[in-house]
Symmetry: C2
Subunit: 191 residues, 2 copies
Amino acid sequence: MATQDRLIESTQELLWERGYVGTSPKAIQQRAGVGQGSMYHHFDGKPDLAAAALRRSAEEMRAVAEERLAGPGTAYQRIEAYLLREREVLRGCRIGRMAQDPEVVADPRLRAPVEETFDWLRGRIAEVIAEGRAAGEFVPGADPADTAAAVVAVVQGGYVLARAADSVEPFRQAVRGALGLLAGLNAPAGA
Amino acid sequence: MATQDRLIESTQELLWERGYVGTSPKAIQQRAGVGQGSMYHHFDGKPDLAAAALRRSAEEMRAVAEERLAGPGTAYQRIEAYLLREREVLRGCRIGRMAQDPEVVADPRLRAPVEETFDWLRGRIAEVIAEGRAAGEFVPGADPADTAAAVVAVVQGGYVLARAADSVEPFRQAVRGALGLLAGLNAPAGA
DNA sequence: GTCTATATGTGGATAGAC
DNA sequence: GTCTATCCACATATAGAC
């Protein structure tokens, strides 16, 4: 693999594990098996490399989500598939974690991929809900955009609760809770 | 105010703003207007001081939540009051933010207040939901503990979405979405 | 109790040889 | 393109004077 790619991948991993402030150039170089000069040859510095890593992580996350949301089944089933997808819960969300970091939030180049990912995700889930409503699967009443934001927030908050408890259980509870509430949107059978 | 208290308060603020990794002893001392020797006289070091600060923040957060959850009104109204409570959304959650930090999660003394806070909060909201169900206000069906976890997760995730967007709007959307879904639990009028 | 001095490592980067 | 040497500031403390 090319040196740039190894640097980007190492940075993706370290940002996930340790956040932006907690990730040093030296650690990146060591994990990538690359010398100092080499890193600064390919990238301007830590922010530049981090921006590249975040763009790539954002792409990957969108692809994984789209796989479930564009899958087969009713609107409810597609959202369920998204929520129940296999996750390394205790590692947290690679993208969501960045929103806690003041240096990421303060730097437009670093915040952009994070913002775009969640904008896209909320919009995409809102679409699915709107489709379910148009198909008569869901009762009207719940706003698609608001409901979508709640769904995404449950996942992000679930990560927080799980890490706080050092257990995946709160994440699973939150997801079950969300699915139970979403089931209330289903139109009465035979309607 | 006593020196210890000024140190603890400064640490609370800095942990909130910059997280555990991002908070240096020097910054704490400067904000507290206290010299180095003084800090190390009163506390063993950064972890010790951070533990004291987190315990205090946890207490404060529980008190604020309990105020709403023990207030007047139906179960739905009390959860609504909790969700709609005035918040400095873009600052994030003082406690939830700590769950992202690997050093906090790895240190039992630092993680304990975080875990206990969310355990308590989920349990407390589950109680309110169970009361609403027992009073016939809510239809049975949704599990109180799962639903409570979802409610707490919406708030924590809402913070993440808001900071990612650098706007309070996604937080408000998520809360509105959650309230819309919770409304589906209400027993049919006149039942 | 509080202050200043000192110590050791790391963060983040530049310079210049190969 | 990659390596080593070097740089300055900061992180996190300890030592000992006052």
